[in-house]
Each structure stands twice: as C-alpha cells, then as structure tokens.
Symmetry: C2
Subunit: 175 residues, 2 copies
DNA sequence: TTATTCCCTAGTAAGTCAATAGCAAAAGTG
DNA sequence: CACTTTTGCTATTGACTTACTAGGGAATAA
C-alpha cells in the first residue's frame, strides 16, 4: 500500500496513458473533503491550511497553491490573518468532481494536447475522433455526476455504483 | 482545426488533467486502422512503415518505435527486408482500444502515478478511492468495448453511441 | 504593534514526451 | 555472393510538465 501524501515510495511505474489523476487533483479533493466535514457542522467555519495539510498528510506549501486555485475558481473562500483559514464557498452538493479537476488541471480530456473535437483524421482513421469524444463523454458522465457531498457521505449515484459492482473493477488487468 | 500529424500549431493549452490521449496512442490507433484496411483485402498483406506514415501524416521514425511496441504486444506482425512491412497479427474484431493504449502507454488509469486501488485515504477523504476506481471502470467500459473493427466500420457499440448522442457531447464546456 | 495566516512570484530537480540519428540485423534480388 | 531494402534497437535531444520549496508581501485579529 502507498502511504497518503508520502512521496518516497511512489511513482513505481512512471508511465501512464489514459486517465491520470494528478497530485493537485488528488490533494485538492482531499482538502475539499476536509472542508465539507467542517461545513456540515458550521458552513462558515474556517479551517487553517496547515490543519488540512496535517489531517491529509499533504505538503503544506503545495496545498496552499491548490487552495488558492480553488478560491480563484469560486469553490473555496478564504480569510487572512489570525483566526483565518479556508471554507467551502458553495454547497457541497453543488460542487462536482469535474469542477475540481477542471479548476486545478484544466480540461478533462485532450488528444495530443488538443481538444478532441479539434483533431481531424485522414483516410482510414476517419472515425477515430468519435472514439475520443466518447471517451471524454464517459469521463464527464462520471465526474460531473458525483458531488463532494456524494463522496463525503459515500452515497454515489446508482450508475456509478453499478460501475463499481462490475466484475474485476477493483483488480488490475493482467499485464 | 488542427492538421493531422502537424506539430506546429498544436499544444495551445499545455495543461490538462483527466484523460490524455498521447501522441503514441493516437498515432498507434491510426497506424492500426491503416493495417485494418489492408487486412480486409488480404490478412497477410504487408504494409511498409513509410506508407503508413505518409498516409496518416505521422513522423516515420517515431511511428517505427510505436509499431515495434505493438509487435512486442502481439498486436502487429512484421517482416524485415525488401518487400517487408507490417500487418495485423490478430483479427480486428479481437483488438480493443484498451489493448492498444495499454501496449503503448501502460495502465489506463493512475492516481499520482499509482494504481487507484493502491492509494489510501485518511479521515474525511476515506471514500475517495471508490471514485477513482469508478473513473477507471468507466474508461475500461468504453475502451475495452470498442474494437479496431468497430472503428474501421464506424459501428460503435450502442452504449457508446448513446454517449455520443448526449447533449453537448461534441462541445467543450464553458470555461 | 505584533503574531498569525493567507497571497503571490520565482525557482528547481526530476521526469516525461515527442521526436531524431545512426547503425545493426534480416530478407529478398540480381 | 554482393547489394538494396526494410525493420530492430539504442541513445540522445530539447521542450515541457510535475511536484514541490523558498521567501517575502498583505491582510486580519488580539
């Protein structure tokens, strides 16, 4: 098992295509889930960056940058000075995972760095674009369908739990 | 519109999280679709690397490396020397896009470079792993469900065409 | 005023990505 | 047997990204 936020024994297999959840997206989601927990007690309660960082075992200064990006996207609010901190600025049921990933890493899908609808294919590969569009649509379907509240309460939408119930969903594919 | 294989005006928005189709996966799929077209005439016909490269407007030497990886994965066969070239080594209906992406870029999904099932989350983010597993399952569902033949004949599975029919599937989300 | 806490810019080491160069090895042709 | 063609393989490159860290500036409360 990989320790959370411990950058020592990680990146065993440096290479990965398909979908990659970056450290920013992962840390950002974890920070937001901490803020959701506080929000459910008092929606205006402020939590310090360092408190989030230690709770989630994430590098503090790196997390600060992430929280700033989330504030600039209107997901989080912040206050400076003593007794300052961060809080959610929107209802947890209103913030989707897609919102978070887009705020931190940009567009959900890219083909060679371009939007899927912007690439064109000659001859035999004529219909390849449809495939990448479908991949993006699948990502959107999942990530736009799950809110922070869903994750915090472990109440995922039914079509997502169906995905999780698929045989082998929790195992890696044979290499 | 971005020209196929032209690396000049691309990479406008360098950053992207979520799913990224690499040049290798994109070029590899295009090369394979050329081979499928030949396969349908004669399953043993050999096509030269340079012919594929010019047909798909892809850098030759880069494509060579891709085709070699595909051969090492058993998807493609090759023969050296004059009158040599490449051909499909499996039936087009038997090769999925997931096979291609895995052969060229490794695992379909990663969280900070690790397999989704290998990361663990403390406290408030306890259930985040399920989300990433679901994302991977969604990717698998799409990419393992489409074969080279499906793309070549433009006959995608019904659940994929349903994804494409979703409103806004072809437009980017408002930034 | 002073301690606290977020805000912001810069920088950096390591790594990846996309591609190129060059030569070795095999296979067919004359 | 040369000789040409075509793939096999390794190494290298430059641009870029990722995951951080350093250090100071600005706001806020006691």
């Amino acid at each position: 098992m990989v320790q959370p936020g411990n950058a020592a024994n990680e990146r065993l297999s440096g290479k990965n295509g398909g979908v990659h959840i970056s450290a920013k997206a992962d840390y950002g989601m974890r920070a937001l889930l901490e803020l959701v927990a506080a929000y459910r007690i008092d929606p205006l309660q402020l939590i310090k960056g360092e408190a989030i960082a230690t709770a989630q075992q994430v590098p503090v200064k790196f997390l600060e940058g992430i929280l700033r990006q989330l504030r600039q996207s209107g997901i989080v609010a912040s206050q400076r000075g003593a007794e300052g901190g961060y809080r959610l600025d929107r209802d947890p049921s209103d913030v989707t995972i897609a919102d978070v990933v887009r705020a931190l890493d940009g567009p959900l899908a890219a083909v060679r760095g371009n939007r899927p609808e912007d690439v064109e294919y000659p001859g035999a590969s004529e219909h390849l674009r449809e495939v990448w569009i479908a991949v993006r649509a699948a990502m959107r379907h999942v990530l736009e369908g799950i809110s922070l509240e869903d994750v915090a309460l472990n109440k995922l939408p039914s079509d997502v739990t169906e995905l999780l119930a698929e045989p082998g969903a929790w195992q890696r594919r044979k290499p």
